[in-house]
Structures are given as structure tokens and as C-alpha cells.
Symmetry: C3
Subunit: 396 residues, 3 copies
């Protein structure tokens, strides 16, 4: 750059020309103060925000995790349909695998001894009929219970509905048992096993901390104050922490989140890297539309009777689905990261001059004097170079 076209071989020397701007030094407390202040602010920002809060000097990795859950507890129900019945894990946990998402049965409508046959539809706007002409043989309403046979038969003494081919007798889910049949589920406990892995840092840990022995594990229950490290959670407690009422939620069901936060600063001691447990309701409880309220699904147990024809017990299961959600971000010092981030924010310093110049040249009473020395106006000396070149500093 600093080399004329006609300098030929000398150009190699240019490589070693070092250019540095000529600086005007203004010794003014006022300006200096502003200048230093802004510099301080930026350096403070770099230290406080970039380093301390954001820890941008670290490289991060996100968690890889494996969860397994095991629910414990039994409940007894006494219903007309089932009589006295004891419910254990194998029966009320669906699916049974104990993965990170499990459903706890809390309420149900049981329809036993269903068989493939014909029966009158449950009365409703689309199913009530007066004569066979109101029913279309072979038609199956997507919101109905089966395929219409075309007949209009008595549902009750007063009501006639279209006959359908289906699993009969049909389920009647008009009223939900209240209080919930398995309210006792409030006392059930779930053991959560969670192993996490930060691949980039070869860091492995599990929520069952090394110092927890099996005897403690057999008897403890999580409690934020007394047992914050016990990985066994009582259903009722979890809902309470989430601000929900178990007895209330048990009736129509819902979805709960068990959140494990594994955010760790691996520059610290490993012992400090422990999961934070939080609980929150995932579905929307105050839903305006009943149709969208609660959590339930239907499943069936299939049997064959003595005549070898298939029968089934249909269960409309209401309950609480628990999702174990593991998340987190680990950070560790990284030279590269540090250089990039610190450097990037230092380049802010270049902005300081802009601000100060603006201040100096517009708001100081000596501003014109400063301008005169800061700026060298070329346009004022078109004619000859040498003479004016020098006097420019004098006269302007």
C-alpha cells in the first residue's frame, strides 16, 4: 500500500513497512474521563457477561441420557363389576417396560364380557332412530361404536337406536367414577434411574449418587428438604410440588413432567454436578372443551370362553402419564472458545473512539481547535503540493 507503482524491486521491502496511525493526543480530564469510562464499561461487560454469566470461554456439550423407571405400590378396589380387586404394578402400569414415559391407572370404566355380536347403539344425536329407515345397513359412523345392521331396535323402554355390529355390550362411559377408583395411587412411589453421558468430555454420571447405598434406597422418599438426593418419588408429592391436587387429577387423568436438569460446570468439582428435580403439569388442565380434557385411552384383555369364542374385557383407562424429561448442558474451559469470544468482544473497543470523537468534536468548547488539528483538508490545496502541504498545518 505504502509503495509507489514505480518502486519496482524495492517493493519487497514494502512487506516490512509497518503502518501506524498518527495520533492526536488531547490531554483533557473531561475527554479522558469519558474515554476511560467507556473502555471500562466494555471491559466490565466482557468480564461480567461474557465470562462470568455466559461463560463463553467454555465449549459445551448436551446430555445423552438413559432413563428407566420402576413404580411400587398396590391398591384395592371394590366395584360391582370386578368385586374386590387388588391392583399391582403389572396391572396398573401401561406399558409395563418402565421407560421414560409411563402411565399410572387411577380411574376406569370396565366393560366385561364383550363379544362380537349385535346390539343397540348408545343413544346420541346421530344414533337415535324411529324406524329401520333411519339406519343404513353397512354404514359406520366414525364417531359411532360399530357397523350399522340397518335395524332400529329398543335401547331402553323409551329409546330406540340403530343396531350395530360390534363388541357387545357397548361401553357406557356417560359417568366417570368419582372419587377415582385408584385414589390410593397417591401413595405409589416411582424409582427413577437415570444415567447421563457428556460424550465430548467423556463424563458419565447417574442420578443415584455414589454415596447412596441400597439400604437407604430401600426406605427413602424424595423430599426437597430432608432427602433431596433420594431418586424415589411419591406420586402425591410430585403433583403437590407442581401445584396440582392428586384426588382431583386422578378422576379424569392428565400428563405430568418430571424434569431432570443436568446443567453442569465441569471446571468445578464433579460432586457439584448433580441433577435438579422439578415437576410440572404438561397438559392444559383448564381446558375449555371437555373433549380435550384429561387423559384416557381404551385397552382390552382378550379371553376365549368354553365355546372357544373370543371375549374381551374393555377398559377405558383414566390416569396420569408421567414423562421423565432429561436435559442439560455441560461446559468446560476451551482455549479456542476463549480466544474467539474475548477477541470478538474486544473488537468492541474500536467503537469507543467513534463515540469519543463524536463527543470531543461536538460538545467541547475547544472543539474547533481540536478539529483543526485532527483533520487535514486536502481539497484546500489543489494547486501545488510541496508548499501547501506543509503550511496546511500552519494556516488552516
Amino acid at each position: 500500500m505504502a509503495c509507489d507503482k514505480d518502486c519496482g524491486k524495492k517493493c519487497v521491502g514494502c512487506l516490512f513497512d509497518y503502518e501506524t496511525p498518527v495520533m492526536l493526543v488531547i490531554s483533557s480530564k473531561r475527554v479522558g474521563a469519558v474515554f476511560r469510562l467507556i473502555q471500562m464499561l466494555i471491559i466490565a461487560y466482557v468480564i461480567v457477561y461474557e465470562c462470568w454469566i455466559q461463560q463463553n470461554y467454555q465449549e459445551t456439550d448436551s446430555v445423552v441420557s438413559s432413563v428407566s423407571t420402576k413404580v411400587k405400590g398396590t391398591a384395592v378396589t371394590n366395584t360391582s363389576v370386578l368385586g374386590v380387586h387388588v391392583w399391582d404394578v403389572a396391572e396398573y402400569i401401561i406399558p409395563p417396560q418402565g421407560e421414560n414415559s409411563f402411565f399410572v391407572l387411577t380411574n376406569m370404566i370396565v366393560t366385561p364380557a364383550q363379544m362380537q355380536s349385535r346390539c343397540p347403539e348408545v343413544p346420541g344425536p346421530t344414533t337415535v332412530c324411529l324406524s329401520d329407515s333411519d339406519c343404513r345397513s353397512g354404514y359406520s359412523n366414525v364417531r359411532g361404536s360399530g357397523v350399522q345392521t340397518g335395524l332400529c331396535v329398543n335401547y331402553s323402554a323409551s329409546v330406540k337406536t340403530c343396531e350395530v355390529l360390534s363388541w357387545c355390550p357397548l361401553e357406557n362411559d356417560t359417568e366417570i367414577p368419582e372419587p377415582a377408583l385408584l385414589e390410593a395411587a397417591e401413595d405409589f412411589t416411582v424409582l427413577i434411574k437415570n444415567s447421563i453421558h457428556y460424550p465430548k468430555f467423556k463424563f458419565r454420571k447417574q442420578n443415584i449418587l455414589p454415596h447412596i447405598n441400597s439400604t437407604y434406597l430401600k426406605n427413602c422418599t424424595f423430599n426437597r428438604k430432608t432427602d433431596p438426593e433420594c431418586p424415589i418419588f411419591r406420586m402425591g408429592d410430585m403433583l403437590e410440588e407442581a401445584g396440582e391436587d392428586f384426588r382431583n387429577m386422578a378422576v379424569k387423568g392428565g400428563a405430568m413432567g418430571i424434569l431432570l436438569d443436568w446443567t453442569c460446570d465441569l471446571d468445578m468439582k464433579e460432586q457439584l454436578c448433580v441433577p435438579k428435580y422439578t415437576f410440572s403439569r404438561l397438559d392444559n388442565k383448564n381446558s375449555e372443551s371437555d373433549a380435550a380434557h384429561g387423559y384416557n385411552f381404551r385397552y382390552a384383555k382378550y379371553f376365549k370362553n368354553s365355546e372357544n369364542t373370543e371375549t374381551r374385557t374393555l377398559v377405558k383407562a383414566y390416569g396420569i402419564r408421567f414423562d421423565v424429561i432429561v436435559f442439560g448442558k455441560a461446559g468446560k474451559f476451551s482455549t479456542v472458545q476463549a480466544i474467539i469470544h474475548i477477541g470478538a468482544t474486544l473488537s468492541f473497543l474500536s467503537l469507543v473512539n467513534a463515540v469519543c470523537d463524536w463527543f470531543v468534536l461536538n460538545f467541547m468548547e475547544k472543539k474547533n481547535y481540536y478539529k483543526k488539528h485532527k483533520f487535514i483538508h486536502l481539497d484546500k490545496m489543489e494547486d501545488t503540493d510541496n508548499s501547501i502541504g506543509s503550511t496546511s498545518y500552519g494556516t488552516q
Copy 2:
């Protein structure tokens, strides 16, 4: 910096020395234009790209979501094996829980009354035999159906195969029913309930919008034009939107994705934050290898016959797996973010001078004149300082 070694106590004053570069002002339309132009470009870039498109002034959070699904519909099949059979949700949805991934049975091969016993293998390259010597007792081929007994027995009048200990009779899945048995599944509907949560912004919402009442919900079906907010989707419609043919896919099965995009700008009105529904096939339909084509699995229903021996009905289930995939990113104005990003991009402005200098000093006819004033060559005045120091501006 601007302070000599021997300035001793004066040095404190240095703190308030403000240094600002001496500038050469070139009043030339040509240069000025280039200069301003580049400045404009960068500022435009900051505004358009950084702010408008990327919205880098926002801090973002990613969605936490909870999904539950409920399928409705019934279908009737009439097969030699099962006779007339009505299929309802409890039977054709696997698993029944109604989580974010559910499988709809559309086609099947049923093998009833299987029992632990011995029977000839299904003929195949590895199973056909001529004499017992071709079969190894106790050997179980990983791709076979059971454990060989060592005998070679008649599969049919013409073919002999190794006898195996297994659930007999063995399933014969050589031909798949076509058209699919549960083609009626095309009319099934699924209600998708999705509650989302942006923790950082304490923002909660569900796909069933507040103004949707339950009566509407009972009768509506999603339609991009007429009912874009109805969360009830007809199977056939979803596949159609994804450009698939239901009747075709129903035969061998496949995997579909129901995507909910919750990307929201929370600086806007909350009402504007609604999910966008899209549908796409997840598996590869035009798979070159049959083995990898479609979607199917086997499950069994277990019974005990009058002699109290276990029998089962094996079902090879073909069908469509629907995965509800919720994603999204919410943004909200953040002062810190704004400062960082705007500042960072402003530091680009420092590059403008580099470009302009290069232009001015190489492509303007007055370039040598400009150079003369821009650069002060020290090397040309090694001998004495005082004199040359001043004249340097004059002579060079």
C-alpha cells in the same frame, strides 16, 4: 502509551490523555460516494438481515411439549379365519396409550390357535430337506421359525422340510391380503391434543385454541381451507396432503409424520402464535429392497384352552405408524442480545476504511498525491530529528 519513561509522576495524568487518529479529509465525490455506499450496505445488512430476517435482537427458547392422541372409527372385516369381525380402537391401535407415536392396523395375516408343538418348517432355501441328515437337532436358524428336532417331514405332498419345535402351525406370510383388510381406516380420524411450553418466557398454549368449543370439536375435521384450526385429522386426508395413496400404503404399511410447527414471535400478539400442521411420509417408499419395504410387526394374543394349555393367535400386523413431531422456536426482544448483535455487526464498519483506502490509493488518478499526504515515511530521515521532522511534510 503517549508518555515518556522519564515523566515520572506526570504519568498519572497520562490516564486522561485521549488519543484520536489524525485524519486526512479527501473531499471527492467519487471516493465519498464509494465510502457512503459501502457504509449503507453494511447498515442495510444489519437492519435487514440481522434484525428483520434473523431477528438477532431476540433471545430464543425451544419448545417443551406434551402430546396425546385419540383415534376414532370402526371397520368390519370378513375373512375365512376370523369370520365377520368388527375392529374398534382398542383392537387396531397399538400401543393403546395414545402417545405421540401410534400405529394404525390396516392389514394383517392372522394365524390362530398356535400351540407349542412340532411342525414342518415353511419351505425355503435353508429349510427344505431330503432326509433327516439334512436337519440338525437343536439347531435354530436365526432366520428360521424354531428349533429343529432333527427330523425331515412332509410339508406338503411334494416338499419335505425340517421339523421344528415352535408355535405351530407356523405362520405363512407368503401372500399379503390385497386390497388391505382395513382399508376403511382411510376414514378414521385422530384427535391431537398438544400443550406447549416456552419455559424461558413462561408462555403456555395448546393447539386446541381458546375459542374452539366442544360442540365444534365434536363435529369438525381438519381442512386447510375450511377448518384450519380443527385438531381432528382424517387419515386419508393426511396421506393425501403428503402425496401418498392410502389404499396403496395400507397394504404393506409405512410411517407418517404429523409435524406441528410452533415457531412464534412473542413480541407479536399471542393470538398469532398458532401451530402450523404439515404431513410427510417418514420412511422411504420406493425402497429398492423388499425386505426393507413397508412397516409391519408381529404380536400375539394368549389364551388357555380347556386343557389349560396355552394357545395364541399370532397377528402379523401391517399398518401406518404416525409420529407427531412437535418443534418450534420462540423469540422475544432482549436488550443484551440486541447490544451484542448490533455492536458486533457495527464493528464491520471498520472494514469500510480498508476497502476505501485500497480504492483511493490504487484506482484514483490523484492516488500518488493522496499517498504523499496519507503516509509519513520515517525511514527517509534517519540522520537528525528536529529539522527533518518538520520539513518531512514539506519535502516528501
Copy 3:
């Protein structure tokens, strides 16, 4: 800026004033060398780190994937409870759907013919009793097997325990079969079908590569050396690669991860974008507490006996859960990205001068001479401008 207050209309012209700093050119090999060196370092950093390693010139997208799995294999067990029994996929894979997470049964404790009735608790610290007074009618211990009837009955000749209402007889899981009953699972294979999608780049691919034909697929087994592209994995091989012993793990179960890494540089040929398979144990094998060791759950098969009362076969299933974890990040050249990143790092160059100045003005023997010319001290010429303005360079 370079325009005086009183320049009125001329100010428009100011728009075209171009300001460029006046530079001091120091032709010194020493300084020049340092200067160029630092420049080189930064440019090298940009090229090597930003471009080559980090590929920051690319815009990235993360993978959307769909996985389905199919396990093959049969095993035979001969136990007192079940007699000779052949296990096939429909029986040992739970759940059967073949999703991205599946459980392979390797060991079990079977309790057949359970019925709702009364039986003595399994002896334990909380269940052993001497008289009825030790048992509370209606009380159900969360870690117990049922609801106490209030009676204290003989469990064995020597031990008395509280009687409970439950599924009787109770399971006795004190000793686990060793070696595992389904050790043969070591030879089972799983076919993994994985279709991935990079939405931003409209890029689709599946792990079953185009050139793989179905005949190969029918017979191959994954092997890092001989068959690195075969998507069929032998259980034993996977555990071996993960450094685990199958026979050992089969007894108490565990969790395995099958990781598919789809990281791709889409600027390269598409053929180069293939999944990398790795296997690792997800749960913590050397767990200090037995309670947290292995992987097991209970499920039941329900029957109705001739008297139409419900009976069930309870299975405590030990086994290996395989999670197929698909991850990856695709990158493609993007002009915008390139500009941002290169530009951002170039702004580092502004830091070079700071460093060099510091070097020049403090460590060169001619430093005072340089300072004299670099800095123009205004404070030394308060009185008159013209005269001193020029001589200032000479005298100071």
C-alpha cells in the same frame, strides 16, 4: 464531522468527505516482521479453524429421522414352570411394534396361575409377624405385595407373615436364574431401518443404501471390517463392540445404545453421506446399589379359567433395552454465513495494530523517536495555533 458549524449549505458536500487516517510508515524489518507474523496467524486461524475445521461458511440443519426395527431369532428354554418352551419374536420383544426403542427378554421369573385371593406375604423386615396384632387390616405397604387382611399366617413351618389380599401365589424373586434362560438371544439379529431427512436442504436418505439388494440383505450381518454397510446387527456383536459381556448382562439386564451418526458435508458427493454405527452401554453397570442394578419389569398375561375367574401368568422380565439414537448435522455452503463469519474474524485484524504499537513504542530502542512522530501533543500549544502548530513537530 469534518464540517464546521458555520458551513451552512456546504454541509451537503460533507456527505462526500472521505476521512482516512494519516499513517506513519516505519520501515523496519523488526517491526514489519512482527506485524506480518501476527497478521499471518490471524489469517491462518480464519482459514484453518473457521473454514476448515469448523466450516463456519456453511449453514447447518439437524436431522429428522424415522426408525423401525425388526428382530429375528428363536430360543428354547426348559424350565420346571414352563417345560420345554420355544420363544419367538412375538413373545420376547416388548413392545412388539419395532420402534426405535425395543426390549429383548433374556431372563425371567415366571409365576403362573396367579389369582385374586389371600396368601402370606413374602418374609421381610416389614412383613414378618408373630400375632395378628402385628398386621393392620386394610393397610398396604407401598413396598409390599398387597393389602393386609389383618391376619398373621404361616409362610413356612418356621416363619409367619401377614396375610395379604393380592394376586396369589406371590412371586418369589429372591434368586435369579443363572445363567440367563434366553442366553441364546446372543445370536438374535435386528434389522434397523432408518430414513433421515434434512428439511432445509431437501435431502433424504436411508441407512439401507441404494446398492444394497434384498438378497444381500437376507444373509448379511454387520461387521465393521467385512460388512460395514449391512443394517442387520447381531446382539452379541453389538455388546462386544461396547465392551460388554452378553452372558453377564443377560442375567440382570441393562440398556444399550445403538448410535447412528448422520453428520454429513453436503458440499461433498452424496455417496459420502453414510451413517456411522456405534454401540455403547447406556446404563451404569457398576452400580453401587443392587436396587439400581440391571433392567427389569413385570408384565402379566391374563386368562380366564373354566369357572370364568381371571387368572394370570406374571413374568418378571430381565433383558436388554436397545435405544436406537439417530443424530447428525448437515452443512452446506451459504454466502450469508460465509460473509458473516469471515468478516467477523477479519475484524480481529484491527487488534494487530494495537499489539504492534505496544511493541514498537515500548521495546524498540528507537521508541522515543517513533513516539515523537506518532503522537501530536496538543496540550503543549495552548497559546497560538499557527506558529506552534507547525514547529510543534520540530521542538517537542
